[in-house]
């Protein structure tokens, strides 16, 4: 009896895996060239807005200390 239960549960596990694989095989995919171009375009379009990439003037960045000395 226990032998049957063990084998039926491992069958269930593999059945689930097969079902999942069937689902994944069906999805629609695009070419890497198209996907890569889209990624590149997104980067370039947003590059000017990226403070860590282009750097913002110290006065605008709350974390960077302003150039003028506080003592003066």
């Amino acid at each position: 009896m226990s032998n049957n239960n063990a084998s039926s549960s491992s069958v269930a596990v593999v059945q689930k895996a097969v079902k999942q694989l069937r689902l994944e095989a069906k999805i629609r995919r695009i070419n890497v060239s198209q996907a890569a171009t889209d990624l590149k375009n997104f980067c370039l379009q947003n590059a000017h807005k990226d403070p860590l990439l282009v750097g913002v003037p110290s006065s605008d960045n709350p974390f960077r200390p302003p150039k003028s000395c506080g003592l003066l």
């Binding site: 095989a25 995919r29 996907a35 403070p51």
Partner: protein, 408 residues
Amino acid sequence: MEPQLQGQVIRQLFFLIGATSVNSILLRKDLCSCRKGMLSSPHQNTPRHREILCFLVEMAAQPSDTLATLKTESETLKTKLEEERAKLHDVELHQVAEKIEALGQFVMKTRRALKGHGNKVLCLDWCKDKRRIVSSSQDGKVIVWDAFTTNKEHAVTMPCTWVMACAYAPSGCAVACGGLDNKCSVYPLSLDKNENLAAKKKSVAMHTNYLSACCFTNSDMQILTSSGDGTCALWDVESGQMLQSFHGHAADVLCLDLAPSETGNTFVSGGCDKKSCVWDMRTGQCVQSFETHESDINSVRYYPSGDAFASGSDDATCRLYDLRADREVAIYSKESIIFGASSVDFSLSGRLLFGGYNDYTINVWDVLKGTRVSILFGHENRVSTLRVSPDGTAFCSGSWDHTLRIWA
């Protein structure tokens, strides 16, 4: 002929032969006391005959799902999946990016050091106001900092050690955290500094193993968690009820990230089974999975457009996966980097990928070209967590050296 159809035919034949032979046996006077066989007399309904008939029907009705046939089907499906993915692999990401200008020298320094934790910092999150940070550590303390002034605004002591997950609510009015207590608790933050935050604690999630990551969805009302028990779950904060659970990982789930709000109800998770999975939050279904890492995946983060995600792993590499091409499109690695990446995050435009590593450094990668643009030193122990601020002006890293550093 399709294998399933073949299976059906064999089963039907088996049933026919089996039933016919039992029928004949029953008709033989020396073997059975009944004069009429089963098939010849449908009214013959003695228990023994019913038993035998049931057995035969069961055998015939059972799908031909022996372990061996299922396993071969699973193998063929896997190879088919790989073939389909490979067919669309016509170019590499860095080839598409060849013509882009290379990035210049980066000068990023520690601008603030947040000191106050008594032990290893394990997790951190920024508030949407781009100024406050919540961090949690091994000693059970969860601290809310003002990153501009480095002041501590709130501190909570959790009843457990190793608080591995913490998150700021979108409204900025609450924080969620959890760890070895297997729970995720939400603490509303009050403006009154003297109030004991622990008194208002609300236990939301219950897992059967440690909580590895948590994240609020677009509102304060729902929270997504991942756990060492191999599952992720979506919870309603008010009632504490589980709204959806996500099963599919074969081992501990270590990290998760929600898709940027414009792109819908999905999230990605990564685990100790070296797999990263993309889930549909409404159905609980895993829609895509990727298994190219060679070791535990410690951190996953969506690309700002939502079409891709990066993962950092103990195999010392970070990888970029594109969701629409359904495959890995870039690997960020160097022979000199041998320690695992514990945490990754993108800059606002997605051009830079920051990776915190177990060799105490932070590597900055050019996402498109696949090269390293900078290496940041400063921490005195492994970097365990790293997050870019919501407006992209700085990023914060937490480390086992008990401190958090803000870089800009």
